[in-house]
Point group: C2
């Protein structure tokens, strides 16, 4: 049973993961970050110690969680002597194999969610995607994951990459369209508030209906009169016009062929 953890990283994911682990009674021994402010802030929150010195990272924890940006991870790993220690990374975009040279006991612990530092989340519904270098390690990670969530999935590196990419489409890109919608109404003296029920229903709808069947609006039927009006409305904003045309065509392509 994993009871102590060293958390390497203090970004959005590290903050939320550390918080819920600590709430579940698991001790965060230490937080590492290159930034002293970030390390200190998270360590204070978790009641742990912190360091900004790679040489002082506590490797005596039951598990070392590397929650770092992809390019930083490799650099940090290469400076640690952790063979034989249980280590995981939390990156959707990196294969498990990046850990193989650094410890024979390794895995991936990938919570599929969008995290911000300020926003605490209910973890019980967040899918935790696991991969491990052996069945024994998988069992240990499963035990930990089930402390946090009811949705624990075994996902290999290729599948995880597809999930990460799909998450960019369904979260980052979606959020960007919320942002663009907000810009459009704000420019016309309307509060974003008015769009919120639509945003909620659009998400709620695909909880029950396949997104293909849920589609409505002018692009689906390629209603040129409306599309041209919208493009005129966006006059002077060529980037928005281009995005509008591009996504409309993509919707129409998807729907005309079925």
């Amino acid at each position: 049973m994993i009871q102590t953890i060293t958390l390497i990283g203090a970004g959005n994911l590290a903050t939320q993961l550390g918080t819920v682990l600590q709430q579940k009674g698991i001790q965060i021994l230490q937080v590492y970050s290159r930034s002293v402010e970030s390390a200190k802030e998270l360590a204070t929150k978790l009641g742990s110690t912190f360091t900004t010195d790679l040489a002082k990272i506590r490797t005596d924890a039951d598990l070392l969680i590397f929650a770092l940006k992809d390019d930083v991870l490799e650099t940090v790993l290469s400076q640690l002597d952790i063979n034989g220690k249980l280590i995981v990374h939390t990156a959707g975009s990196l294969p498990m194999s990046v850990l193989a040279n650094h410890s024979n006991k390794h895995g991936v612990f990938y919570p599929l969610q969008t995290f911000s530092k300020q926003r605490e989340l209910e973890f019980s519904e967040i899918p935790i995607c696991l991969e491990a270098s052996s069945p024994e390690i998988l069992d240990r990670l499963k035990e930990l994951a089930y402390c946090l969530s009811n949705k624990v999935e075994e996902i290999d590196s290729a599948q995880r990459q597809s999930l990460h990419l799909a998450a960019v489409f369904t979260c980052n890109f979606v959020n960007h369209f919320y942002y663009l919608g907000n810009q459009i109404v704000q420019n016309n003296g309307i509060d974003f508030e008015l769009l919120k029920p639509l945003i909620q229903e659009t998400a709620a709808k695909v909880m029950e209906i396949d997104p293909f069947d849920a589609q409505t609006g002018p692009a689906k039927r390629f209603d040129e009169a409306i599309i041209n009006k919208h493009l005129n409305f966006l006059e002077g904003q060529p980037e928005l016009q281009e995005i509008y045309s591009f996504v409309s065509r993509s919707i129409f392509q998807a729907h005309k062929s079925k």
Copy 2:
């Protein structure tokens, strides 16, 4: 007080609007549709009569609601003798002025939501955007709107067009990214189910946080290593690659300048 309505149109919006009006005790006298199946189906649901003959449209109702596609609306209006009757359209994309030549008592009754025939909605939180040819008519429409919803807004034609366009971004385009995300994971043997908590949280987040501040992910920081991996992953799907690059750049542009 509006007590009887003729519903001209039997599409998604007409179906949901008719359903809630009838539930609130307002009598739908008649449903008109060009398609006998659609007209009959909705009339049966609403306990009303139906017609497919423009000449037989009942103009003796307190209100005639035109819930038709934009290009059909003009054709239908031009064949009716309805001057002096209270008429509204429900289109986000059309100005109120399209009604002006047909009756001196006119307005717009635009519920800002995505409607499907099968999915019944709780109307109380749906913004109903009103515009009217006179203060008296506005009052009559307000009275009706407040029967259905707590969120009744006076919105002029230009503002309504901006709302309609923003709805395309925050609903139709967003839903298309759900669809594309679903395609990506399905192609890799993963169930869309796994993305649902992310989709829900992405929408829930912007109920409380400005979409600009809610953004996460590789595009925001233009993480080229991840972006290139994703583009490689989409090899052989040039349309998806193009959309991916385009939206990623748009996110980065928005964030680098602030």
